[in-house]
Symmetry: C2
Subunit: 203 residues, 2 copies
């Protein structure tokens, strides 16, 4: 077995792009393998099925994304972090991912998956990355003690919707020529954090 099959990676990269553009059903394996320059049967050989390929596209990005989120969260002083800091730990890794060309496509894939309400995919996400969301929710609960449990979950859901919506469009937003990429990213992070903080903590 090859340790890093070029065919496997080309399929994954092309799949990410085409899933973002045409959706999971809309992107056929024939279009996908043709665009990747590999044989049609290579997908089933390397991944087993189209659905397993979808899961692998998610796993590759989300493993890194959620590891970064947890690392940022744990780096904060336990029990003393501010709401803005916790939000930054949640938002910045996602925005950094959506900032480079290929990661931006993945955020659109993610937004699509949210909207599709696909039960298999939701179970996959919950099983593999639910613990991350749980840790952040616990932090939010500590920082917003005046909110009831239902109210807190509700606001987090609203913030999640806003962020998903925003990041699925990020990267397509025209950036002014007089600010650097890093500056643009930082400004966007600050906007998102302030928006989320305002929505979460209002009385």
């Amino acid at each position: 077995m090859n340790s890093t099959s070029s065919t496997r990676d080309r399929i994954l990269g092309t799949a990410e792009k085409m899933f973002a553009q045409r959706g999971f059903d809309g992107a056929s394996l024939r279009q996908l393998t043709a665009a990747a320059g590999v044989n049609l049967a290579a997908v089933n050989y390397h991944f087993g099925s189209k659905e397993k390929l979808v899961e692998e596209v998610f796993r590759r990005r989300l493993d890194a994304l959620n590891a970064n989120r947890l690392a940022a969260l744990h780096k904060l002083a336990g029990g003393e972090a501010t709401l803005e800091q916790v939000l930054a730990a949640y938002i910045r890794p996602a925005l950094e991912l959506s900032h480079d060309g290929k990661g931006a496509l993945f955020m659109r894939v993610l937004a699509r998956a949210f909207a599709e309400h696909d039960d298999n995919l939701r179970r996959f996400l919950s099983e593999n990355y639910g613990h991350v969301m749980r840790q952040f929710t616990a932090e939010f609960a500590r920082l917003l003690p005046h909110l009831g449990k239902a109210e807190l979950y509700w606001r987090i859901d609203l913030v999640t919707g806003a962020l998903t919506h925003a990041m699925s469009g990020f990267g397509m937003i025209q950036r002014k020529g007089d600010v650097s990429e890093q500056e643009h990213l930082e400004q966007t992070v600050q906007h998102l954090i302030r928006f989320a903080a305002a929505g979460l903590s209002h009385p």
Copy 2:
């Protein structure tokens, strides 16, 4: 030609349900017509094509929804309405639509369409209902003069994402047995309005 063909309406109603459940590509005309109890060819006879059927599903709901939104907006005292009132004019009709059983499905269809970034559908929505969004944006600009144009658009986009996300899940949220439907709706409207107002108007 029949003025209100039962076949036409059954197709539209079933299409809304199945598009919400399985997406536009995922719901086939064979499943759809079988569930509606009509012949397969009836879709192409009454609507011309599957894509025209999709547009008609949108048109039927959005005509009423946006008319209600504009009526609520114009009923406000011109130039003196508060941010919360304008938000209510925007949010309440959508939530009322998503409150009855069939409208709730439509909101999921709408959320799906947002995530799919389909160019044809976006053009259709922009051409037919763009003027509504423009009027609300003008009101927001009047009420939030301290925000730059770019900043305002950005926050409206975030609010739109949050609302779409929330309303696509609304109706699935379990309602406590001790509050009436009307009460539940009103509480939800108030939550959404306060969340949106906080996100829009924060410094």
